[in-house]
C-alpha cells in the first residue's frame, strides 16, 4: 500500500468513533477603536519602526529624504520616481546584497497589531527585493488601513505569496532580550500617505 493510502486509512480508523461536525464559532472582533490610522501609527512605532505621515503631493520628497542617499532598488511599478534607484528586473540575491535600501508599496495595514502586509504585486515587487536590503521604506496609503487581522484576511488573496511585517527583523533568542535586526531589513521606515 502507498504511504498516502496507509496514512489516510490510519486517520479514518483513528476517527471511527468520532462525529466530524464541530461548530466553529466566529472569532470575536475587536471593539471600535476610533481613529484606526492613529492606532496603526502608534502600534507600528511600538515595534521601533519609524513612521512619517505625509500628504500625497509630498510623497516623493519624503521617500528621498528617508533614503538619505542610500543605493536603492524599486519594484517595476512603484508609481513614484526615485532618482538613481535600480528598477528590479530579476536581480540575483548577490546583486541585491550590494544594495542598501528598497522602496515598496503595501497591500494592507492592520491597526490593532501594527502590521503591514505585502502581496508582492508589481508595486511591491518580488519577495527577495524587500528582504535582502537593510532598509525597507514602505509606503502605506491611509485608506489601506483596516482594524484587525480578520479584515486583512478577508482582503488578501491566498494565491499570492504574502509577507506580513510587524516592525523590523528581531530576535529574543538571547536571554529573551529583544534585539532589532537579524536577517531581514534592520530598519523599517513606514511612509503613511493621507
Amino acid at each position: 500500500m502507498s504511504a498516502r493510502d496507509e496514512i489516510l486509512g490510519r486517520v479514518r480508523a483513528a476517527l471511527a468513533d468520532v462525529a466530524p461536525a464541530v461548530d466553529v464559532p466566529t472569532a470575536p472582533r475587536v471593539p471600535n477603536r476610533g481613529d484606526l490610522v492613529a492606532l496603526f501609527v502608534e502600534r507600528v512605532e511600538d515595534y521601533r519602526a519609524t513612521v512619517t505621515r505625509c500628504a500625497p503631493g509630498d510623497l516623493a520628497d519624503v521617500v528621498v529624504a528617508a533614503l538619505d542617499g542610500a543605493t536603492t532598488v524599486v519594484p517595476p511599478r512603484l508609481g513614484i520616481a526615485v532618482p538613481g534607484a535600480v528598477v528590479d528586473d530579476g536581480l540575483s540575491a548577490a546583486e541585491l546584497d550590494r544594495i542598501d535600501a528598497v522602496v515598496t508599496r503595501a497591500r494592507v495595514g492592520i491597526a490593532e497589531t501594527g502590521t503591514i502586509v505585502l502581496d508582492h504585486e508589481p508595486d511591491q515587487g518580488r519577495r527577495a527585493i524587500s528582504l535582502v536590503p537593510d532598509l525597507h521604506v514602505c509606503i502605506v496609503d491611509a485608506s489601506q488601513v483596516v482594524a484587525d487581522v480578520p479584515d486583512a484576511i478577508a482582503l488578501l488573496d491566498p494565491a499570492r505569496p504574502l509577507t506580513w511585517i510587524s516592525g523590523p527583523s528581531a530576535t529574543s533568542d538571547i536571554e529573551l532580550d529583544r534585539v532589532e535586526g537579524v536577517h531581514g531589513p534592520r530598519t523599517l521606515h513606514v511612509v503613511l500617505v493621507g
Binding site: 496514512i7 464541530v22 470575536p28 519577495r127 535582502v132 527583523s169 528581531a170 530576535t171 538571547i174 531581514g184
Partner: protein, 500 residues
C-alpha cells in the same frame, strides 16, 4: 523511536541532575519569568481572549475530526498550485524524501527554517549521514547546533544558555563551519545577533535548497504558513531554487478564513507580541518569485496513533506556542533537557507518550513530570486540557504493566492498602505501626512541608523509587481513631496528636 534524545535517562534521574545546575536554574527562571510577563500583558489587552481561545480550539478540532477529507483537499490544492506532495509514514521515510530531492539537485547542503517536525524526525543527522550539511538559521537553533547541544525549549531552544556562554560558542565554533565570529565579539545580544547575521548571510546567498516546516497548512487554498521573527525564515523561503516543507498532518486547517483566530492567538501566546515580526504564506509556486520547485512532505510519524486516543487526541491541536512551558513550575526548575525529547514541558509530557506509546521507561516517566497544577491548561491558546491527558496517560502507563511478572512497587502498595482498609482490625494495627514509623521518621526527616509538617527525604529499600522524586510526609504519631478513643472525640479536651 523518533523525537526523543537517544540515551536520555528517565525524567526523575535527568531532573535530579538539572536541579543541581544552579547556572541553568538561574537562566531558566530569568527567561521564563520575562516571557510570562510579556504574554500576560498582551493577552490582557484582548477583551475577548476567552472567546478567541474557544474559536481557535474549534478551528483545530474541526480540522482534526475530519482530517482525512482535509488532507485530500490539501493535497489537491497543493498540486493545483504547482507543488509536489509526498507522504511519509515515519521519520525514516520523511528523511529519505528530503535527502533524495536534495540529491536530485546535486546539492550538498540545505538551509533550514526552525521547525519542530524536522527536529522530531532527526533530519539533520539523517542528511549528514548522506553527506548533506543542514544549516540551522534561527539564532537559537544556530547556538544549539554550534554548541553541539540539544534544544531545551520549543520557541527558544537555547533558553538554557546565557549571553556569556553564547559568546564562547560563537568564538570557538563559527570559524569551523563558515565565516568566523569577529575578533571584537562582546556578549551584548545585539552584537551576538550581528555576528549571526554575517555568519549566515553567505549561506543564504549560496544555498540552492531550503527545508522548512509550517505552522499551518490551509486545505482549501494549499497555503503554507511560517511564523517567525528574524527573517531567516523569509531568506530560506525566498532565495533558494528548491523548497521542501515537512508538515505534520495535524497542521491542517480547513479554510483560509480560519487562520484568523490562530494568527491572533499564536504571537501573543508565544513571544508575547501583538504580532511576530514576519509571517510568510505561500501557495505552491509563483512564477518569477521565490523557489520554482516546491515540495511538501505530509508526515504521520505517530500522529495517527495520537489521533486514535480518545482523551489524548486534543494534543494534536497544539500550535507549539510554548506558553505551557513558560508557566510550568516543573519546567521552570528542570529545563527542557530532562524531558529527553524535542517536545519538552507539559505538552511534551503528553505528546511524546501519545506519539510513541509508553513502552520504554523514559517516555513512561513523562506523564509523571507534573504537579497537575493546571497552569498549562489555563494559558493554552487552543484549550488543550493537559492535566486530564496527563492523568489518562498515567493510567496508560499502569495498564501497560498489568501483565508484568514482577508487579510495580505501586501496584503492590495499592494491593496492600486494599487488604488493610478492608478490615477494621487490620487498619487499627496498621495505624499503630504507622504512628511508630512517624516518630522514627520525624527524627530523621530533613524537610519541612508547607504547614510545618516534617517529611522524609529519600527512603532506603523498596520505597526508594517513590521517594526519589517526592517528599513523603512523616505519618502522624497518633491516628484519628486513636485520638478519638483517648479524648472521647475531643470532649475531654485532650491534646491533639500531631506528627512533630
Amino acid at each position: 523511536m523518533s523525537g526523543t534524545f537517544v540515551g536520555m535517562p528517565a525524567f526523575p534521574t535527568a531532573a535530579r541532575a538539572a536541579l543541581g545546575d544552579t547556572q541553568l536554574r538561574r537562566n531558566l527562571a530569568h527567561a521564563t519569568h520575562t516571557i510570562r510577563d510579556k504574554r500576560a500583558r498582551v493577552v490582557a489587552e484582548v477583551e475577548d481572549w476567552e472567546e478567541l481561545r474557544i474559536a481557535g480550539a474549534a478551528v483545530k478540532e474541526a480540522a482534526l475530526r475530519d482530517l482525512a477529507t482535509h488532507l485530500e483537499t490539501l493535497e489537491a490544492s497543493l498540486v493545483r498550485a504547482g507543488a509536489t506532495v509526498h507522504w511519509a509514514r515515519d521519520a525514516e521515510e520523511a528523511c529519505a524524501i528530503v535527502a533524495s530531492v536534495t540529491r536530485a539537485h546535486g546539492a550538498d547542503e540545505v538551509v533550514k527554517v526552525k521547525s519542530m517536525a524536522t527536529q522530531e524526525i532527526g533530519l539533520n543527522e539523517a542528511l549528514e549521514a548522506e553527506g548533506i550539511a543542514a544549516w540551522e538559521t534561527d539564532l537559537a537553533e544556530l547556538i544549539v547546533q554550534l554548541g553541539e547541544d540539544l534544544p531545551s525549549h520549543i520557541l527558544v531552544p537555547a533558553i538554557h544558555r546565557n549571553r556569556a556562554e553564547i559568546r564562547e560558542i560563537f568564538r570557538r565554533r563559527m570559524g569551523a563551519v563558515g565565516r568566523p565570529a569577529p575578533e571584537a565579539l562582546t556578549d551584548e545580544p545585539a552584537v551576538l545577533a550581528g555576528a549571526a547575521r554575517e555568519h549566515l548571510r553567505e549561506k543564504f546567498l549560496r544555498a540552492r535548497v531550503a527545508v522548512s516546516g509550517a505552522n499551518f497548512a490551509v486545505a482549501d487554498t494549499g497555503t503554507l504558513v511560517v511564523v517567525e521573527s528574524e527573517g531567516n525564515g523569509r531568506m530560506c523561503l525566498t532565495l533558494p531554487e528548491v523548497l521542501i516543507s515537512v508538515v505534520g498532518i495535524e497542521k491542517v486547517v480547513a479554510t483560509w478564513d480560519e487562520l484568523d483566530p490562530l494568527l491572533r492567538l499564536l504571537p501573543r501566546s508565544s513571544t508575547g507580541e501583538r504580532m511576530n515580526p514576519y509571517t510568510s504564506t505561500w501557495s505552491g509556486l509563483t512564477p518569477g518569485d521565490g523557489p520554482q520547485e516546491v515540495h511538501v512532505v505530509l508526515l504521520d510519524n505517530g500522529r495517527t496513533r495520537a489521533l486514535a486516543d480518545e482523551v489524548g487526541r486534543q494534543a494534536l491541536r497544539c500550535i507549539r506556542c510554548s506558553a505551557c512551558l513558560n508557566v510550568c513550575p516543573v519546567y521552570e526548575r528542570v529545563g527542557g533537557h530532562a524531558y529527553g525529547s524535542v517536545y519538552p514541558g507539559p505538552i511534551g509530557a503528553i505528546l511524546n507518550p501519545l506519539l510513541n506509546g509508553v513502552s520504554d521507561e523514559q517516555t513512561a516517566s513523562l506523564p509523571y513530570a507534573s504537579s497537575l497544577c493546571g497552569a498549562c491548561f489555563e494559558v493554552c491558546p487552543v484549550r488543550i486540557d493537559i492535566p486530564s491527558v496527563l492523568v489518562d496517560q498515567r493510567a496508560a502507563v499502569i495498564d501497560s504493566h498489568r501483565g508484568d511478572r514482577v508487579p510495580k512497587q505501586e501496584a503492590l502498595a495499592m494491593k496492600a492498602a486494599a487488604w488493610t482498609f478492608a478490615d477494621a482490625r487490620r487498619l487499627r494495627w496498621a495505624e499503630r505501626a504507622s504512628g511508630l514509623a512517624g516518630r522514627v521518621l520525624g527524627r530523621f526527616s530533613r524537610t519541612t512541608l508547607p504547614g510545618g509538617r516534617t517529611a522524609a527525604g529519600r527512603l532506603p529499600g523498596p520505597a526508594a523509587g517513590w521517594t526519589g522524586a517526592r517528599d513523603l510526609p512523616a505519618p502522624p504519631r497518633e491516628s484519628f481513631r486513636q485520638w478519638w478513643d483517648r479524648t472521647d472525640g475531643g470532649r475531654d479536651g485532650g491534646r491533639q496528636g500531631d506528627g512533630s
